[in-house]
Subunit: 66 residues, 2 copies
DNA sequence: TTCGAATGTGAAGGAGGCTTTACATGGAAA
DNA sequence: TTTCCATGTAAAGCCTCCTTCACATTCGAA
């Protein structure tokens, strides 16, 4: 599933490590999500959306909408 | 994580089996999500939101918002 | 009462999310 | 060049998601 995490993070000038700490996950998890190696769990997706103050749908692109 | 899946399903008069078929998952998965035994994956959450034509946030309640 | 549909749950197994540890690369700065 | 930071990725392990098969309960209809 595609996502705009890297863009949002870069807009704020955060490193993957910075973001990981704000989300309370490992840097590797942030990296894996950004590089599309796997999708976050739903609770983590909520946390990400809340951190960036937007909807989950604004960050993650539904597979059906390519 | 709380959700309104059972309500949405009931509003449409669908059985868990009906919903499972529309989502292409097992009836047990629908039951487990409705009864709160586990949260759906993000892709499945998207599929559910699309089926009910609303946002993920309208169906699933963020842990941080009780 | 008997039947069938709907729901809840358990066990076991496969796939995926997330962790820690660890190593490699690239680029910017000293 | 050397150092340091940011990033990418691999391995092993644990937990969660989702499956199938199976069984129990409840309830309404026949």
């Amino acid at each position: 599933m595609n996502n705009h995490l890297r863009t949002l993070r870069a807009e704020r000038g955060w490193s993957q490590q910075d973001l990981a700490e704000r989300l309370d996950v490992s840097r590797q998890s942030v990296n894996a999500i950004e590089t599309g190696r796997y999708d976050p769990s739903l609770p983590l997706a909520f946390k990400i959306a809340e951190l960036f103050a937007c909807a989950i749908e604004d960050i993650f692109v539904s597979p059906s909408k390519g």
